[in-house]
């Protein structure tokens, strides 16, 4: 008697565990995609509001861009990816300096550009999983004077569950891949190395920041 009951309990537990273990993974996928889409949509709406706000100065807009960068982008992971092979052989000091200057470089390179958009709207089209942590969000920028621009966002869930952007792909061209290619070309020039790259980026930041 006891055996049968235990067996039934056992069966029931297995069934219960089985059910619960099938859904969370797929649920997690869907939640990932939804969360990623929400991130892009929120940021997009916010960005458009900021940009169309005529009362903000250029530097205020750039400041806002910095906020987006720090909140929504995983700058550390992007920086590490962009340094590529050279991350492994870099010292802690070099890594720290690189991440710092890389962040500044991103702000001066793209902060200005953000201010030059007007009248465009961001439309989210789709979201597909890349793996269990990452989602690809497909969106389009519709311009009044020109064809629509395809813009894809690679969004990754961090250890603490936060969704962050790790790459932007414009018309099939990945920002992260392009920068990695460019930076590695600079590092590999004889006598330059990671320190040389950091110096070059610092110079770039200085010249563009003025």
């Amino acid at each position: 008697m006891l055996k049968k009951r235990n067996f039934l309990v056992f069966l029931f537990s297995v069934a219960a565990i089985g059910t619960f273990s099938i859904t969370p993974a797929s649920l997690a996928q869907n939640t990932n995609e939804q969360a990623a889409t929400t991130l892009i949509k929120t940021m997009g709406d916010d960005a458009i509001k900021t940009l169309s706000n005529k009362s903000l100065t250029e530097s205020q807009k750039e400041h806002q861009f910095e906020k987006y960068l720090d909140d929504s982008f995983n700058m550390k992971l992007i920086g590490r990816f962009v340094l590529g092979n050279n991350w492994r052989t870099a010292t802690d000091e070099q890594r720290k300096n690189f991440l710092n200057v890389f962040r500044e470089y991103m702000v001066v390179s793209y902060g200005q550009k953000i201010g030059s958009y007007s009248g465009e709207s961001l439309k989210i089209k789709d979201a597909k999983p890349i793996n269990d942590k990452e989602t690809l969000v497909y969106s389009v920028i519709e311009q009044p004077n020109g064809p629509p621009i395809k813009l894809n966002w690679r969004v990754r869930k961090s250890k603490d569950g936060q969704q962050q952007i790790v790459d932007v792909i414009v018309e099939g061209v990945s920002l992260a891949v392009t920068q990695r290619s460019e930076f590695s070309a600079v590092v590999n020039k004889p006598g330059v190395g990671v320190d040389g790259l950091i110096k070059k980026l610092q110079e770039q930041v200085k010249s563009e920041g003025s």
């Binding site: 991440l99 395809k150 790459d167 018309e171 061209v173 990945s174 290619s181 590695s184 070309a185 600079v186």
Partner: protein, 269 residues
Amino acid sequence: MSLRNLWPTLKGGLIVATLFTLLSGCATAPSDDKSTASSVMYEEVYDPFEPMNRYFFDVNYAMDALFLKPVSEMYRGVLPLPVRDSVSNFLTNLSQPIYFINNVLQGDVDSAGDNMGAFITNTFLGLGGLFDVAQINTPEDDMGQTFAIWGIEEGPYLVVPVFGPYTMREGVGGIVDWAIDPVNIIAREKDKTYVGFWRWAVDGLDKRSRAIETLDDIEKNSIDFYATIRSLYRQSRQSKILKGATDPSQLPSMSFDEDDEISKTSTTN
């Protein structure tokens, strides 16, 4: 049959043979000692001629600054957008036959149908192609993409004087396109060989005029303009070959084993 009659055929045969030799060099991937490097440096271009390429890149840059860019700016400044759009439409329409041929060669029947449909509609209803009546976003397929679909590897990156960045595969593809383009063939038969040149020149002008600010921005932000253009070129070719779709599974991995190291590395604000 006299030798005189035989010569055109021989010449044609020689050209084809040379092209195939060049292409077969691309059929083999770069040597294996690059394989570990290339698997990590995913998407890195094979650039064995880099010093020469950088030199020609500088040459092209100077020619652009001295000639193409100022002319493009004038072109854009003088002609209103609808006129320039008509020029662009006309040129695109003239290329539909070769796009059609390439899509057929790739086995892409849907795209080929688009090319045919757009060509007929725009030619007859769009005043010879000046107006894009069809409004289909036709895939602009060239022989370089066809070769890619056929499995031929890119081969080395080449910066060609005047013509700009290419890979061996795209370069050979461009030559073949020029030779088999129906519009060019008809023009040659009617002794109007300059048509091919003018198509190429005006197309270059049109494209340059639409990319002025974009290229300026890219240059302003880059710390190695040559490497940036090389990467952009290759990625945009990849995108065209995949017909504009971004395949999630093809993206490089951004997961690193030592994830903890990143959180340990502090950044000062």
